[in-house]
Symmetry: D2
Subunit: 477 residues, 4 copies
């Protein structure tokens, strides 16, 4: 069986030697760095749950490519059932880690490649699909995690890749040799890039004439020479480093900027190289899958937020306050909206030429549009119910201070019978859920900007059918 346990996953990461920086210094031991470890734990939950009796049947399946039982996070969907499982798994994981589990992006890349490499080959007679299948079997056998290296730095947004004064502002091929290609560029918001074994690079946008060098897709190990991970700032990051006031006691998220500084990629790992007309196709497929992944995991995250809000009501003595209950309903409603649209996108999926199933993209984007607009509202409701201590709760170090700790614990008491320690813990979790930037910003910008989600549903809807429907009703022939 190819399904790794959480300890095996950690072990496999320890064998890697990625180049990583954080706050101006090199990070040698990535796995035990407390800030990165929170993210690794989140991805680790995908290994953990796959081995739990309760979730095994949902999280694992037999691969038609290897014949072995695998973790679903290594399988491009091969049926409607697979598509539906995506959403349910993501909801469970979103609630289980209370943040992003960071393993969906790699799967979404593989799903996109499993469709588009087949189509490119069919048109151009290229060998991409078989190369990809070799890679896929390798990932499945090892139960590896992949990371989506999609979003380029982009430079001046009003210019195409080849029009930028600095040619490297979209990742590009700088050299082609007998053995492979050399690439240069940088990808940003690389959620969990140090929790992954492999980086899968896809183009970030549709390309046109002149952009040939930028239309490239490939996969390489996360510790390949020339790959530099720079872990940026997010709010509350130093708390993880100091091991205090973390809120979520085990899980977190980080999103490095990853620089590809003249990186060599062997041909057997190159899945696209110059076919500009498929660049938009590949990013659209990836984005549709990824936006739907959000629909699952964010509904799970709202479940965790709703739970925190309900507990705070118990702890504050406001469980019977009507306007608080109304806010809980708003939270449930939004979780179900994301979930319902994402599930429907799966159930209404279709088989593509390669055999992979693709979701209904309009429904997937409909879910994401709600996420981009409403997750900040979910936070607002959670903060409203919780109260002002989201802004300024004293540190655990204060609660443990000999002089003021006792006083603070006296005054932080909530509803009768609730241990003050529990109330403090839950207040801190709310702070994490509401105000940690790495996770909350992805509600908006994960899977492309809200404007992109909007354009997608217009582009993929049949406007003429709607016009004809209205004309018939009005009696216009």
């Amino acid at each position: 069986m190819a399904v790794k346990t959480f300890p095996e996953y950690l072990e496999s990461l320890r064998k890697m030697k990625p180049t990583a920086y954080m706050f101006g210094a090199r990070v040698e031991n990535v796995v035990d760095n407390p800030r990165i470890r929170g993210g690794i734990n989140s991805t680790g939950a995908t290994y953990e749950l796959a081995n739990l009796e309760k979730y095994r049947d949902l999280l694992t399946t037999v691969s038609p490519f290897t014949g072995e039982r695998i973790n679903r996070f290594t399988l491009p969907p091969q049926s409607i059932e697979d598509l539906v499982a995506r959403v349910k798994i993501n909801r469970i994981l979103g609630a289980y880690v209370g943040t992003c589990h960071q393993r969906c992006t790699g799967l979404d890349c593989m799903a996109a490649l499993s469709i588009v490499t087949f189509d490119i080959d069919k048109k151009h007679g290229t060998p991409y699909y078989n190369r990809f299948l070799d890679f896929l079997r390798y990932m499945q056998k090892n139960d590896f995690t992949a990371n989506a290296s999609v979003t380029d730095v982009k430079g001046d947004r009003s210019l195409a890749p080849h029009e930028q004064p600095d040619k490297d502002l979209y990742l590009r091929v700088t050299e082609k040799t007998k053995d492979g290609i050399v690439v240069k560029g940088a990808k940003v918001h690389q959620t969990g890039s140090l929790s992954a074994h492999e980086l899968i690079v896809l183009p970030t946008r549709a390309m046109g004439k002149g952009d040939e060098d930028y239309a490239v897709a490939f996969a390489i190990p996360a510790d390949t020479k020339g790959v530099i991970h720079v872990v940026g700032r997010n709010t509350m990051d130093t708390r993880e480093i100091e091991g205090v006031d973390c809120g979520n006691i085990r899980y977190s998220k980080y999103c490095p900027t990853v620089i590809y500084d003249e990186v060599f990629v062997p041909w057997e790992r190159v899945f696209m190289c110059g076919e500009i007309e498929y660049s938009g196709e590949i990013v659209n497929r990836f984005s549709a899958f990824h936006r739907q992944s959000h629909g699952g995991c964010k509904s799970g995250k709202i479940d965790a937020m709703t739970g925190a809000a309900l507990v705070m009501m118990d702890y504050n003595g406001t469980s019977k306050v009507t306007h608080h209950k109304e806010k809980i309903i708003d939270m449930i409603h939004m979780a179900e909206t994301l979930y319902g649209c994402s599930l429907a996108a799966s159930y209404e999926g279709k088989k593509e030429a390669s055999g992979t199933y693709f979701i209904n993209s309009v429904l997937a984007n409909a879910s994401k549009i709600h996420e981009g607009k409403q997750m900040s509202e979910m936070i607002r409701l959670l903060v409203d119910i919780t109260g002002g201590y989201v802004a300024d709760l004293p540190s655990d170090r204060d609660f443990n201070n000999a002089e003021v700790g006792g006083l603070l614990k006296k005054y932080l008491q909530g509803a009768v019978g609730v241990p003050v320690e529990n109330r403090i813990k839950m207040l801190r979790l709310v702070e994490k859920l509401a105000m940690e930037s790495a996770d909350t910003i992805s509600d908006l910008h994960g899977g492309g900007s809200p404007a992109a989600h909007r354009l997608t549903i217009m582009r993929e809807s049949d406007l003429n059918a709607r016009k004809n429907c209205a004309k018939r009703l009005a009696g216009i022939e």
Copy 2:
């Protein structure tokens, strides 16, 4: 085959002799009354499409109860496929008639009864389920339309049925005889009651001790003695009567108040009588089904509205205006949201003891909450795109007037190349879609009030699971 055609449906209605009033006068010929006919045509579309090649496989199926091919509007769902077909059929019909087709309520009653009568019998040893099956087979063989007689007048909303000073403000049993029961009361907002062959009466709310006489369910022909249909006012109603300025050239909606003035119901048509503890159950089942019906048909209605908006953009010369396109996206987004949540409610349905499949009620209500909040916004967007003539378009009689008709047609010209007649027709359709009260108000109050939808999703969600999830993340044992 039991599937009626539209002419056969009309013919079957002509044989009935219901007691009907409108604007203070008795209506003798219901079928040819131009105001009621618009509604009959809408329901007629369910017969029409069932006989079209394109839709036959979706709208008809073989009944496990009769072995014959039937219209799905007579079949309580017996599979996930049946549940999914509900939503797709309703979306098609919503767009096809551009208003309410008025046949879903009867089906939703039958679906609810097919579950609850079985459960009552199991507990009480009553004969309701078999009686209901006889009725169901009768409906299927004749391809009859039923009407949901659910919403009581309610009197003082702060009082239970038996607490009202006037005991008839909820429909109740006033007498029980060897042959049947006598009932008295009134049901309101009886969409299409004169387009239906049978009225199915269900209680409108949960009942408690003292309400036994009010816990009653049955079915009777719409022209039963003592049943009085009073067709009320809606905006634009006189236009149908005068046959001018209708907007939607064939379809419309009407919703009588139906008075049960000492009506006799034979025992074989009584499906519940006094089992107060099932009163809430039956209305909850009906409401969940009916709220989901809305999810389908209103997404179809938004399709028609979106089409009208797009055509108006063509006709006004504003097809390239960015903020109009953004509004179109908002309309598509909402249609897909209703559709996605409703579809997911079907796909996630479950089999009940009687064999009928029940939808996921949380997802069905999630869709309805959006409808109740957002349909008025859809109208706003449609009116915004269309322009001010939604308020004050001259009458077709003015356009045909010898003195001013020519001038009006000159000045009503829109984009170059668009016949002015078409622009006038489409403006009138928009007026109908946006401002006709019978249909637009049902976005809000159809299937119970928005507050009821909200309470339902809270009641049926697992709040403790969410609390435990948050406690685990916060480290609270």
Copy 3:
């Protein structure tokens, strides 16, 4: 004293002989036509209240132009106090008539002209300002009502006036003679044009080179030869004609299309003729004033709607229902938002060169943006609180019918102690407030489209000041 009473106002209208059509027929007696009379009564309220002790000091003032006490609806604001009075008067009137009082548009035209004619003269040495002052004194002495003839039919919206294939799709000067000009065109949504003594024509948009003939402003009596008023359809219009089920027992609104079919205007009434560079200026001034007028009257209309909702709660027995109270709060909140922004626009007004005071346009438009977005939400809340009878209340003719009237009155009973007649009346008023198109559509399109309001606040805000503020905080020199 120049302040007319309501009877004097009616009398003055009776002396006029406008050319009017409605539903394909000529209307000879405008004042006694029941549909038009509702609108005349609304405007009449501005005369009525000016003569009531309680409101006299607010509605009347002494004119600096005539030295006489006048109705403020004939006075371009000459002080901050005048600007503030605008808003307060409009709120009172909006609540008093429960619809549009239809006299603000003329005042807003006069206010705009009192600023721009002065500016044009200063640049071009034209005699417009003095001509305008003569007209103004005439209006004040007679306490006449003017109507804003601003919105052209516009034809293809993507083309400028002179680019239209039919040159008359914006009103234009077709001939200039020694005595005056001849104009041709049509103006739409002419709220209350038959309740007015004078029509004031302004251009509807900014003009460019080639549009000289369209840059024209003037005033003429509403019954001038060649002026044709065509009263269009609105929902519920036939009820006024039949005198039944009106809802609002005295007041209503109508908005004709007015055709100028070769109309002669003497020079002394021409206030602009060809000065294209002031065309945008004049419409911007008018629009800013008029959008603010809405802020006052619509907050008053929300007051009436809130009152209707509160009474319905009393009548239905739901006065203690929390979610209803929350909706009342939303209604109060929006009324105060419109009122607050509009009041602030007055208090922050500035004196223009001619002496007229102009409002703060950003604040005025801020109010209007809320109106355009939120009035449909106000209706939704009102309907939600009221219940489904907004859609299908039986006619008063049914309530009076010998056979069913008694039954209907029995079943329409609401809360204990409330006369059923009162409940029926209030339900009918709600239907009028919520579903009558002439008034509700103006929430959106009155004073220009929402997109125009939005552009205005961006254009008139200092974006660079904001940029510099951010740069300083970021430490960017």
Copy 4:
């Protein structure tokens, strides 16, 4: 002249010896602590601007109590002009510091006390008003800053103060002596308590029988014995301590929990003691003033956010993107809404018995309701426009790192011609504006919870007048 400069303000703070804790340790030098200093600088801006030519006339005035020129932050409003100045000053300061300036709360307490102490004295013959005037003159002469010590910890929210198992969960009088009183309790979210010279304690809610000990108001120096300030956590706090990645280069905010551990207050500083019936009155007055303060400063903060968004558009090359412009309009619109309603609240203010002017509370709360709902939306728009780097921008230490700094600067380039350093600085400012918790949470919970704002506008609106208005229109006598 009593107007201090910023250096004089700093100097005056250095003379104080408050007891302060942060992160488990005692803070001895408050003024130079980099985390607290950001807040002190913010309050310092109120001193700085008062001495700038451009703002002097707005920020200072002559006190009717001392006859000297004073900073307006020490003057309860004595005229409509004073009320209006409040809003304008706060908007300017909000934009100037890009966060909370933290001096309004003290003024709002003094304004409330100047009204209510007078009223209490009038009823009870107490000496509170004169004591308060002495205190006020002291504040004015020294140009001191006061802090509002209002929000109690509250314990179990479902219990009244005297019902709590621990009697100290609302601050209370534990002893009365000849010289004064001894109090015990804790106040939370004490914005800028270490930037203030004096703490003004008011009750946090209406009190009833049994709560007499809790109905207490007084003022004491911030470094009084027994007063303990515990500075809690907020997101990004360690950055200030480390002096890196701060975003806003000079200004910040902090909100300690302040414990009153048996604190003695001399009688001359006691302004209320046991008059339970005025407890609600005093908190309502304070809240109304304070909610309006928010209307001013948050509109200023939105100005700074709008500026940051506009600069990011310039820096990213998206200045011409339509949907970005629409979001800018939404931001301007909300700033003007808060500003308009708050200004109107001032202009419509009224003189109270003591001579202090009180704002229109409904309009002030209308502004605050928008703030509580829309500030999170403003953040969402800012983040949407800015892009994903709000979540994970590398540290300045990375940009300065020899190995990766150059690469990062290469890849962070934006629009052609923009120095990469400026883009990085502006991205960091956006992170601060969007994700720093101390400031953003106050949008919601500052001045009481949103539910409190809502209840206020219902309580203070004339509901019967609205009902009567609707009844008249419906013809109900």
